[in-house]
């Protein structure tokens, strides 16, 4: 099946004092229609930047983003305006991503008004109420303002906004990490139900590995701007290959009395993303690091059954 979205050697460098910050450095991913790609990594690994690049909220430094086969980075304003409604984003923080001066009605109406979807106000009101119903917001909230609602409800407004234009692809940028666990589970269930009903394709960005396993078909692990491993979600958890992925999975505290012993703890911290030296970015923390890990970047290599890993051990 043709992937809905595909990136080819996508790069984003930010100019900062002291050089170029390699936020996203040559990432190749693809997401098939109706599937979810989970992007995991720790803070500063470039996962949010990647999410913004694939829907062109940020201009890439180089590379291609193919949406239904067309490179959206080459589209002009008018062409972009036609494509934008098909791709949406749900932001991390429902406290700062909603305009505090707009009511729920106005917030959900905004994308519909901007794109002149409805001629009559009655039709638009109907659509807004049905969207609120879809995301599980009671009708009585239609005139409330964000500060009157709790985090879970606010995130539902964010989801309703993203759904308003019936998109095909949604980037979910840590949509549940600001919420309490019981509310988090409600939102995850909602997102999965919506995907089934509307055949949505998700890119799900998170640092929470148990959440990503639950919601994703495929997972890409990022480290310092690069995708270092990509595989089917069950395969990745069963058989992690990259030393970083192994350490990351072993670091999750499991809510069980047994199984927290013998954790593999990696030493050190993420190195500097400004002008990184070519070679494996994880080398300085890796126990298996050899000379051939340094000097040149290591490409992702298929280990069979679509399990890609960028590590010299497997090449």
């Amino acid at each position: 099946m043709e992937p809905l979205i595909k990136t080819i050697d996508l790069k984003k460098y930010f100019k900062v004092n002291g050089g170029l910050l390699h936020a996203v450095d040559g990432v190749n991913i693809e997401i098939k229609k109706g599937r979810t790609l989970g992007v995991v990594g720790e803070s500063g690994c470039g996962k949010s930047t990647l999410g913004r690049l694939v829907i062109r909220l940020l201009e890439a430094t180089s590379g291609e983003v193919l949406f239904e086969g067309n490179d959206i980075l080459k589209c002009n304003r008018q062409e972009m305006k036609k494509i934008r409604p098909k791709m949406q984003i749900i932001f991390q923080d429902p406290f700062s991503s909603l305009n505090p001066r707009m009511s729920v009605f106005e917030l959900i109406a905004e994308p519909l008004v901007m794109n002149h979807v409805y001629k009559s106000r009655r039709e638009m009101t109907e659509k807004i109420l049905s969207l609120m119903d879809t995301v599980g917001l009671a009708e009585r909230f239609v005139n409330t303002y964000p500060h009157e609602m709790d985090g879970g409800r606010r995130q539902r407004v964010g989801i309703a906004r993203a759904l308003a234009l019936s998109p095909k692809f949604i980037v979910c940028d840590e949509p549940v990490s600001a919420l309490d666990v019981s509310i988090q589970a409600q939102i995850l269930n909602l997102l999965m139900d919506l995907q089934e009903e509307m055949k949505l394709t998700y890119m799900f960005i998170t640092h929470d590995l148990s959440v990503v396993k639950h919601i994703s078909n495929e997972i890409a692990v990022m480290y310092l701007g690069q995708c270092i491993e990509r595989a089917e979600s069950t395969e990745l958890f069963k058989n992690p290959m990259h030393p970083y992925t192994k350490a990351l999975l072993s670091a999750i505290p499991v809510p069980r009395l047994t199984g927290n012993q013998n954790k593999k703890i990696i030493r050190g911290e993420v190195s500097d993303p400004i002008n990184p030296k070519p070679g494996c970015r994880f080398a300085s923390r890796c126990d298996y690091c050899k000379d051939h890990c340094l000097g040149q970047d290591i490409p992702l290599k298929d280990q069979g059954n679509e399990h890609f890993v960028a590590c010299r051990i497997y090449q």
């Binding site: 720790e42 803070s43 709790d150 879970g152 309490d180 666990v181 019981s182 509310i183 988090q184 589970a185 409600q186 995850l188 269930n189 999965m192 640092h207 590995l209 148990s210 959440v211 396993k213 639950h214 919601i215 069950t234 958890f237 350490a247 990351l248 072993s250 670091a251 999750i252 505290p253 499991v254 809510p255 069980r256 009395l257 927290n260 954790k263 703890i265 990696i266 030493r267 911290e269």
Partner: protein, 326 residues
């Protein structure tokens, strides 16, 4: 001396009083900690975990926060009867606290070394001179895995994980008997969290400190705690040993809900089983059991009668479901 309790909290209630409303943040909670024990206080936002910690430390906001009843016995002495000055000598020396957010709990314009030395200076009973105190600072930094030469640096020169180590070093400076850790790893990445948790476990082993671990992460609890208290809307709804909570058969419906809300890494589940609804408004708590509007096993009696604690050995569940079995 294992059965001697280091800290006993009896019927503690805390309110926050504002012009508009009275918030019942903590309602009659009871728990205790023995020597070298770690108890986990688990719950969601607004459950009263941090308020409990602040009440023990006597750091509640002066204008609004008030302890309305109860006792906090630290080695048999009631802390609520202590004067401000007496409390000042206990705080930081015999009990200390690690705050949630290492990014904001350090003073940005004081070097890390000076911040650690501050509590050593205040509690300097042996009249140590400056060189001896500096030596202790070096020792503490080494203990938490930071090179002593970095002590003249400022907090912004450290990463999140390193800042949290500094905060831990500050809390441990005077060898406290009780350490309260308020979400010590929530702001950190998983691999750094693993480093910090391993460090805390090691230090606890070395120094024999008792600990109150406040967290919403059941994984962290499983990894660090001997005893667990689950809090909901200002009450402890279930408490017991870690074994009771993680492997026991009887649970409070809220505990079950919490476990059902976490995606399990080892078992494939298509849908999660979240708790419906929201935390009740603490200014307007429901009558009867506080959890009844969200509870799947809610009965008629739950709506008007406050449940009694039912104990199975040391395992206590506050729920009407277990009324008959006792």
């Amino acid at each position: 001396m294992m059965n001697e309790k280091l800290l006993v909290v009896k019927d503690l209630s805390v309110i926050y009083k504002t012009d508009e409303a009275i918030v019942h943040a903590v309602n009659k909670i009871n728990f205790d900690i023995g020597r070298k024990e770690t108890i986990g206080l688990v719950g969601e936002t607004g459950a009263g975990k941090t308020t409990t910690a602040l009440a023990i430390m006597q750091l509640l906001p002066e204008r609004t926060g008030r302890i309305t009843e109860g006792e906090i016995l630290f080695k048999g002495e009631n802390l609520l009867k202590k004067s401000k000055n007496e409390m000042r000598m206990i705080r930081g020396e015999r009990m200390s606290m690690i705050f949630q957010d290492p990014m904001t709990s350090l003073n940005p314009i004081v070097t890390v070394g000076d911040q650690i030395r501050e509590s050593l200076d205040i509690h300097n009973h042996d009249k140590k001179n400056k060189i001896e105190l500096e030596a202790r600072v070096d020792e503490l930094l080494k203990l938490v895995g930071i090179q002593p030469r970095r002590k003249s640096e400022y907090p912004h020169q450290f990463s999140g994980g390193m800042k949290q180590r500094v905060v831990i070093a500050m809390a441990l400076a005077c060898n406290p008997e009780l350490l309260i850790a308020d979400e010590p790893t929530t702001a950190l990445d998983v691999t750094i969290q693993a480093q910090v948790l391993a460090l805390m476990a090691e230090l606890k082993e070395q120094l024999g400190t008792s600990m109150i671990m406040i967290t919403h992460d059941l994984g962290v609890v499983a990894q660090t705690c001997d005893k667990v208290a689950i809090m909901y809307a200002g009450e402890i709804v279930e408490q017991g040993t870690a074994r009771d909570i993680f492997e026991g058969e009887k649970h409070h419906p809220y505990t079950l809900g919490l476990f059902g809300s976490i995606p399990d890494l080892e078992v494939e589940t298509r849908r999660l089983n979240p708790i419906d609804g929201l935390m009740p408004d603490p200014t307007d708590l429901p009558p009867g059991c506080k959890f009844h509007p969200r509870c799947k096993s809610c009965m008629e009696i739950c709506k008007h009668k406050q449940p009694e604690p039912h104990s199975f050995g040391n395992h206590i569940i506050v729920c009407h479901l277990y009324a008959k079995e006792v």
